[in-house]
Symmetry: C4
Subunit: 127 residues, 4 copies
């Protein structure tokens, strides 16, 4: 459970840090609009529930092995899905990579801080 | 609905901008030929409909969590699919990334324009 | 059909060109060994046919929307699959990207050649 | 079988080499915490077995064509999966790419060593 809280904490820190970057804010807004368009389409044309539609829209743009068990059946739905993926996958990929890098850096900074403090303590003990 | 139109607008702007880049045009033509070859193969050898074949050909090349519910069943189809993916995934990935970057830049430019106008207005008000 | 032959031609050209690069040869050998190990495992432990096993091994390493309809069912198979993906996905991704870039360059070079010839012709006609 | 042992050997070498890099250690710890959180969630809330949960957590973060035949059914599970993918995919992707590069370099170094030895032998024979 602790590991879960730690991950969430680091994730939130990374998110806050990432949002200070104006590029990331632009990235996030674009992505939000894309997912919103998709959710509206799939709820209306494919008749899915809201959570299912959001779930499909988010997972579809991520390079993942997850199988949502949701699949557009109408021809219009298939054509929309192609456009949706072409528009969104690139933006999502850049967002995920930026977020991933920020998380690792947050981690690396933390470790450097801990190490720095250790060395400081050692130095003090020597004195 | 507005968000949908906005996304489509930005996407079309990004597309027009991307097409001015000769590299992207080359990218797009290569991709078009690859998808055309795939569509011809799957309609003839696996007996799929045209929309289904195009849908499978496009989605297959994209790193996505979407499950098309289409799957080649013949041995020839499986061998072709492997070659198709090896040939096309790299080209598609570069295309998607280029498109994603162009979309974010289009967005960033818009925001800079709006910000610039705001500052201009503030400056005018001060005067 | 012509488009298919053109794609295959360009792909083969890109492959020949890529193989001249010693880095790519190393990449290809590594990948070959990885896929061979996987094929041996899945034919023996999961009891799949050879084509099915190769198909699964190749498609698994590619970031794609294709669903192979094959899935390891034994616990050993699942553990092996995790290791297989961790070892192979990175190498495959670099290979696909290198191949994709080479294909686009081959295309771009061709176009430049055609353009160069056009300009030469125009120049000759002027004279 | 030999090819399998060779791949495992090179993989372990690459892993040892990668771990000497402090950046990679940070990467690996972050990833470990993420997968642990996921495993805890899916065993408790979706009621999956431990191996199935780990299998799903690892495969989900990898850009792969594998279909795990596992899929969260509860709404909470779907919401968690979205967050899990957004947090983890970027970190996993950087890890896989780093590992892939290290494996190729290990391979390239080996070959250079063998080539160097060959040239040395040729040189000795000439003398
Ligand atoms: K996938
Ligand atoms: K999939």
């Amino acid at each position: 459970m602790l590991s879960f809280i730690l991950t969430v904490k680091r994730f939130l820190e990374a998110l806050v840090k990432a949002f200070k970057n104006p590029m990331f804010l632009s990235l996030f807004t674009t992505l939000f609009l894309i997912i919103l368009s998709g959710t509206l389409f799939y709820t209306k044309k494919e008749g899915w529930g809201v959570i299912d539609a959001i779930y499909f829209c988010v997972v579809s743009l991520i390079p993942t092995g997850v199988n949502t068990n949701l699949s557009p059946v109408t021809s219009l739905g298939k054509i929309f899905t192609m456009l949706y993926l072409v528009v969104g996958t690139g933006v999502m990929f850049i967002t995920l990579l930026t977020l991933g890098k920020t998380m690792i850096n947050t981690k690396a900074l933390e470790e450097r801080k801990t190490e720095g403090q250790k060395k400081l303590n050692e130095y003090r003990e020597k004195k």
